[in-house]
Amino acid sequence: MSLTREQIESIAHLARLQLLPEEVPVYQDSLSRILDFVGELERADTSAVEPMAHPLPGQKQRLREDVVTEQDHHELYQANAPQAQAGLYLVPKVIE
């Protein structure tokens, strides 16, 4: 399998990654080779197999009681924000 330059640019856009022009051929080459490598999976006969849903057999997703467990930590959490003001996270203008 050989991915095109356009395919790499489209994947990068979906993943919200800005690539430098010189990065594109590098990923074109390595992703193509990775997809060839994982293509080996086709060799396995999985017609009678259910996909694995949990690494431990018989375990189900646990649900918690619908009660408040979190306290208000917004000042502490926003201390890590690139830009915050009046308890709000600031981002570039979205609507003109």
């Binding site: 790499i8 994947i11 990068a12 856009h13 979906l14 993943a15 919200r16 990654l17 800005q18 690539l19 430098l20 990065e23 590098v26 990923y27 390595s30 992703l31 080779r33 990775i34 997809l35 490598f37 994982v38 293509g39 080996e40 999976l41 086709e42 060799r43 396995a44 999985t46 197999v49 259910e50 996909p51 694995m52 849903a53 949990h54 690494p55 431990l56 057999p57 375990q59 997703q61 646990r62 918690r64 930590h73 502490l76 959490y77 201390a79 890590n80 924000a81 690139p82 830009q83 996270y89 981002v91 570039p92 203008k93 979205v94």
Partner: protein, 490 residues
């Protein structure tokens, strides 16, 4: 007693020394901090050293010891892989993306070991977001192998492995998604334990591939791993896949006799890719087990050769989803002067992530994208089931599986960075246990003629950590490979 020899002791021996007041936790902690700082130019095993906080915690531990309030781990130093969130301390995951992130809370593993009285001396270097097998993808530069600083320590928990191998700390934590504890433990000559999926809480452990990630330990001995796991393991309501199973006393069963233990040798692990020196060490280790009364038989897991391809679909898929949270809005790196929101997202992520992390995110994005999901992700999860079924069948015949942890000893820096698939194949013997959620341990079992350590891997059924630690401990009573220390750090 001289504090210069403290670093040669195991966690269990240090605990006894603290109880007998042969030295204080402050003295022990200071000795670790001094060794860490002296080693940084050669090894680069740490991203952050928390000297002041550590000495304050050690003083508290000494107080507890003096007042008879101490537990078995009180006052013992530990280093945490920089993937574990530590309250008030920089938590980077070795990425530019989190290079300014001061965690507002402790991971459950960190909180439990702190509550047990352990003293955190710092945060260890690692592959960026735990993606790598050589510790060369770190934003903070590579870690070097204490046995030969031209070589890699393995990854992704390379700093944690090197720190114990060079006896900078008696123990450290790590995480294992495809071999990230066992592979560096093997390449650095220390004991590395990956518990059963769900045994140790993932809360506050920065997520890479959520159905594979599991926290564990690096120690000098299996006995030390038992001491740590007893304190780390157990149900945590804050982790939705944490399992509510009682935690046995792993220390109490360390000396159970091995007579009659049925050991399966994985046919697929003794293949043409296995280095001759590694194979010799493994065969000699197996002879020790026979002497201890165990029996050996060959078993075959026909689907196992597909574990690496299955992993490189499942892990990147989960990674692309987990790493979507790094958007430059709430925490972490943000690019300079964004034009608009899309530009901010794209440049923040393009500049904040390193090359291998971007490769995994894009691989995952591709295999999950419309039209490809069935062919890749669903297919890989079916193959994963085949592999898990193979393991279950094998454990119907044998108690544990043994084989090499890695195909080769440690390799030079730069040797495998050009081709990602060559690097991915380092984990060919370790990935199976992650795909099936099984516990596994790597223990030192010999050296190559070049003086590099070799690791023996033991894999067991779900929740059989006690049996793995028991088997490892009895081997370590018969051998002294685990007590060897690199000359430069003796």
């Amino acid at each position: 007693m001289s504090n210069t020899s403290l670093h040669r002791k195991s966690l269990a021996e240090l605990a006894e020394g603290l109880r007998k007041r042969e030295f204080s936790s402050v003295e022990l902690t200071r000795a670790c901090l001094d060794r860490i700082e002296a080693s940084q130019p050669q090894l680069n095993a740490f991203i952050t050293v928390t000297r002041e906080q550590a000495l304050a915690e050690a003083a508290q531990a000494d107080q507890a010891l003096a007042e008879g309030r101490a537990g078995p781990l009180t006052g013992l130093p530990i280093a945490h892989k920089d993937i574990f969130c530590t309250s008030g301390v920089l938590t980077t995951c070795a990425s530019r993306m989190l290079s300014n992130f001061v965690s507002p809370y402790d991971a459950t593993v960190v909180a439990r070991l702190k509550a047990a009285g352990m003293v955190m001396v710092g945060k260890t270097n690692m592959d960026e977001f735990a993606m790598g097998s050589s510790n060369e993808t770190s934003y903070y530069g590579p870690v070097r192998n204490p046995w030969n600083t031209d070589l890699v320590p393995g990854g992704s928990s390379g700093g944690s492995a090197a720190a114990v191998a060079a006896r900078l700390v008696p123990a450290s934590t790590g995480t294992d998604t495809g071999g990230s504890i066992r592979q560096p433990a093997a390449l650095c000559g220390v004991t590395g334990l990956k518990p059963t999926y769900g045994r140790v809480s993932r809360y506050g452990m920065i997520a890479f591939a959520s159905s594979l990630d599991q926290g564990g330990t690096f120690t000098v001995s299996a006995e030390d791993a038992a001491l740590l796991l007893r304190a780390m393991a157990g149900f945590d309501p804050a982790d939705s896949t944490s399992v509510d199973e009682p935690v046995p006393d792993y220390v109490a069963t360390l000396n159970e006799p091995l007579r009659g233990l049925k050991i399966g040798l994985l046919k697929e692990f003794f293949d043409k890719g296995l280095d001759a020196d590694n194979e010799r060490c493994i065969r000699e280790a197996l002879a020790v087990y026979e002497k201890l009364g165990a029996t050996l038989r060959e078993v075959s897991l026909p689907a196992l050769p597909l574990s690496v391809p299955a992993y490189y679909v499942v892990a990147p898929a989960e990674c692309s989803s987990n790493l979507a949270r790094y958007d430059g809005v709430r925490y972490g790196y943000r690019c300079e002067n964004p034009r608009d929101l899309m530009d901010m997202y794209k440049r923040t992520r393009g500049e904040g992530f390193g090359a291998e992390v971007k490769r995994r995110i894009m691989t995952g994005t591709y295999v999950l994208s419309a039209g490809y999901y069935d062919a890749y992700y669903l297919k890989a999860q079916k193959v994963r089931k085949l592999i898990a079924n193979d393991f279950a069948r094998a454990f119907g015949e044998v108690d544990v599986l043994m084989g090499p942890t890695t195909p080769t000893p440690a390799f030079p820096l730069g040797a495998k960075t050009a081709d990602p698939i060559t690097m991915y194949l380092n984990d060919i013997y370790t990935i199976g246990a992650n795909l099936a959620g099984l516990p596994a341990i790597s223990i030192p079992c010999g050296f190559t003629p070049q003086g590099l350590p070799v690791g023996l891997q033991i894999v067991g059924p779900h929740f059989t950590e006690a049996r793995l630690l028991n088997a490892a401990h009895l081997f370590q009573r018969e051998t002294d490979w685990h007590r060897r220390v690199p000359e430069a750090f003796a």
